[in-house]
């Protein structure tokens, strides 16, 4: 176990930045999101949840895939280069680390998504235990321990000290580069912090929510439930829940007319949107109820059906905090528990 004083973190960040890009929670115009670090960045390690999850680091909201233009009567295709430079993603909460593992299931299974794979290859994840979990957190439901997150390096902020423990080869390599800034530390301090965090987690209102009835089978048993009709009505059909979610991975591929050619880009899509999965014949989901149902069944039924029972909700609670109509996955789970269907 190693540690560094909180006041020395700028020198740690500067040392990491010398070797590679560094992304971490930065406060801009009052809100904290993952952003590139430089000396002027207002690093914010006190806000529990960034508005957006860190998934942009591997799966950006919008990215060019290739561009094409006419040259001498022929169409030239210029592919986008894959990420070749290493980077460090610092301050990732336990739920968001699981979020990355969910994305891995999608993008690293055959056919492998080369854009995503390149970023995963280059990225080192430094996770960050949650000192003070909040009401809307329910990561424990999905077997996540926010007191001991996964990641290449795991960190805990206890008082004025950041405790640092490498867990993987990538983590060891990063630690070696900044070892001169870290000192040996007492593991008992971290153990006490973990006990305290787990004590708070037990008191959170949703930590022991039952997922009975969910999983692959729910695709059949809950698809036609009348509960969906009761639940969806306040939904505004905005994409907030999907865009703040660490695991929503649906995307659209579009062509942008640059005036002299075409840029083919992909961008996050939202199952809440009316043109989601629009095809030449039209749209296979014609009502907001169907779109609403799609999101929750994807998290709690379709994804586990195709991924050995792994749910694609990680209990981060961002949708709980951010839905303008205060609809969320907790209300869905509880409504089904109440109705029993």
């Amino acid at each position: 176990m190693l540690k560094i004083n909180r006041n020395d973190l700028p020198s740690l960040f500067a040392a990491i930045r010398q070797e590679s890009d560094l992304y971490l929670p930065v406060k801009t115009a009052g809100k904290t999101n993952f952003a590139a670090w430089d000396e002027t960045a207002q690093v914010d390690l006190d806000t529990l949840k960034t508005v957006k999850s860190p998934k942009d680091a591997f799966f950006p909201q919008s990215e060019n895939l290739y561009s094409c233009h006419q040259e001498g009567g022929k169409t030239q295709i210029v592919p986008e280069t894959l990420r070749e430079e290493p980077f460090v993603l610092f301050g990732v909460r336990g739920c968001d680390v699981r979020g990355i593992q969910v994305l891995d299931k999608v993008f690293l299974s055959n056919p492998v998504d080369s854009y995503y794979a390149a970023r995963r290859e280059q990225g080192t994840v430094v996770s960050f235990a949650c000192h003070a979990p909040e009401t809307s957190c329910f990561c424990k439901v999905f077997g996540i321990d926010c007191a001991d997150p996964e990641g290449d390096v795991v960190t805990w902020l206890v008082g004025e000290e950041l405790y640092w423990q490498p867990k993987t080869e990538k983590g060891e390599a990063l630690t070696a580069k900044v070892r001169h800034l870290l000192s040996e530390a007492d593991e008992a301090v971290v153990a006490a912090e973990q006990t305290a965090i787990r004590g708070i987690v037990e008191k959170l209102p949703y930590s022991n929510l039952s997922l009975e009835g969910w999983g692959g089978e729910a695709a059949k048993t809950r698809f036609d439930s009348p509960v969906w009709e009761q639940l969806y009505k306040p939904c505004l059909a905005c994409g907030t829940c999907t865009f703040v979610c660490p695991t929503c991975q649906c995307y659209d591929i579009k062509d942008y007319d640059t005036g002299s050619g075409v840029q083919r880009f992909r961008c996050w899509d939202s199952c809440m949107y009316s043109d989601f999965t629009m095809m030449a014949h039209g749209n296979n989901r014609t009502s907001q109820m169907q779109r609403f149902r799609q999101r929750f069944l994807h998290k709690l039924a379709y994804f586990p059906a195709n991924n050995d029972g792994m749910f694609s909700c990680v209990g981060c609670g961002r949708c709980v905090d951010k839905c303008p109509s205060h609809l969320n996955i907790l209300k869905v789970i509880k409504a089904f528990a109440k109705e029993g269907v």
Partner: protein, 321 residues
């Protein structure tokens, strides 16, 4: 609140209304949701508290298409939106039974979070002049009611309902700020400062469209940003797109029709002060066409949708720079 439930129950029972549009209680005090109620049993979940900020007027567009009347609870500021929707023929007055419900200022959960309160499981809000006591896992905390209010309540348009069938409950005018102070401050900036300000705010935009979807003035059946016939389709293609297109076009489109209900800023997950765009237009319209408040009534023609011989000449507007 019990009076509201009893009155709604009686109107349902008598058959005068077919459904009730109000707010349903959530898991906590703050996560109330807009909801339709069809029976006394369903009304047991009805709630009216400090977190019922959602403006229900827009839901009346869909409710107007249903059989029978819908009882809708509107706060004073919500009635401006309803009037405006009548004017635009988007809701049917005959299909609505409006109870003008008292309002003492509504709260924003994020303002409580911003006060350093990490966890909210309950909140007592006796009156807007009082202190808000917040129950948390980490002990009870207190903040002033005013500091937890929505921005729009600080520039409250007053406690008068502009359209209603009956009134229930007391209202308080919570106005304690100049509605146009922030706009004036931005107008006083240099072009570079203005650009930096908006760049910093709008670069947070995630194009979730919550501002548009909640907006009572955004009632087009199909938004241009939802059309896949244009490059304007509702998904980000470059990072500068939001700043240059979406919000500015939306502000232009609602100019003269926006009642300044503040829903756009209430729902923005990134806390972008979107109301400032609309308020800039309102301030300019006031200066160029005379004082105008959209939704004040359901009849007066809007300054940008009518022609008067004494209208400002486009050239005059241009000269202002």
């Amino acid at each position: 609140m019990q009076e509201l439930i009893a009155r709604a129950g009686a109107l349902l029972q008598s058959g005068e209304v077919s459904r009730v549009l109000g707010w349903r209680k959530g898991e906590h005090v703050w996560d109330v949701e807009p909801a339709f109620f069809h029976s006394a049993e369903e009304l047991s979940e009805f709630v009216y508290n400090g977190f019922c900020g959602a403006n229900l007027s827009k839901y009346m567009i869909e409710a107007s298409k249903l059989e029978g009347k819908t009882l809708v609870f509107l706060k004073p500021c919500d009635t401006y939106s309803f009037n405006q929707l009548i004017k635009e023929h988007r809701v049917d007055r005959e299909k609505a039974y409006i109870i003008g419900v008292g309002c003492k200022g509504k709260l924003k959960i994020e303002n409580i979070d911003a006060a350093g309160i990490l966890d909210v499981q309950g909140a007592d809000y006796p009156d807007c002049s009082d202190t808000l006591t917040v129950k948390t896992l980490y002990g009870d905390k207190e903040v002033s009611y005013a500091s937890a209010m929505l921005e729009r309540c600080h520039v409250c348009k007053g406690k008068e309902h502009k359209i209603y069938d009956e009134l229930m409950g007391e209202s308080v005018d919570t106005c304690d700020a100049d509605r146009f102070a922030q706009v004036a401050a931005i107008e006083a900036m240099s072009p570079e400062e203005k650009f930096a300000f908006f760049q910093s705010e709008l670069s947070k935009c995630i194009r979730c469209n919550a501002c548009r979807n909640v907006c009572p003035a955004c009632s087009c059946r199909k938004c241009v940003f939802d059309s896949n016939k244009f490059d304007s389709a509702q998904k980000a293609n470059t990072t500068s797109f939001e700043e240059k297109m979406f919000h500015i076009i939306r502000a232009f489109h609602v100019a003269g029709r926006c009642t300044d209900c503040g829903e756009c800023s209430r729902v923005c997950p990134q806390g972008i002060p979107l109301h400032l765009f609309n308020r800039k237009f309102i301030r300019d319209i006031n200066a160029l066409y005379g004082e105008f408040q959209a939704g004040e009534d359901a009849e007066t023609k809007g300054p940008l949708t009518s022609f008067r011989t004494d209208d400002v000449e486009p050239g005059d507007a241009g000269k202002r720079g």
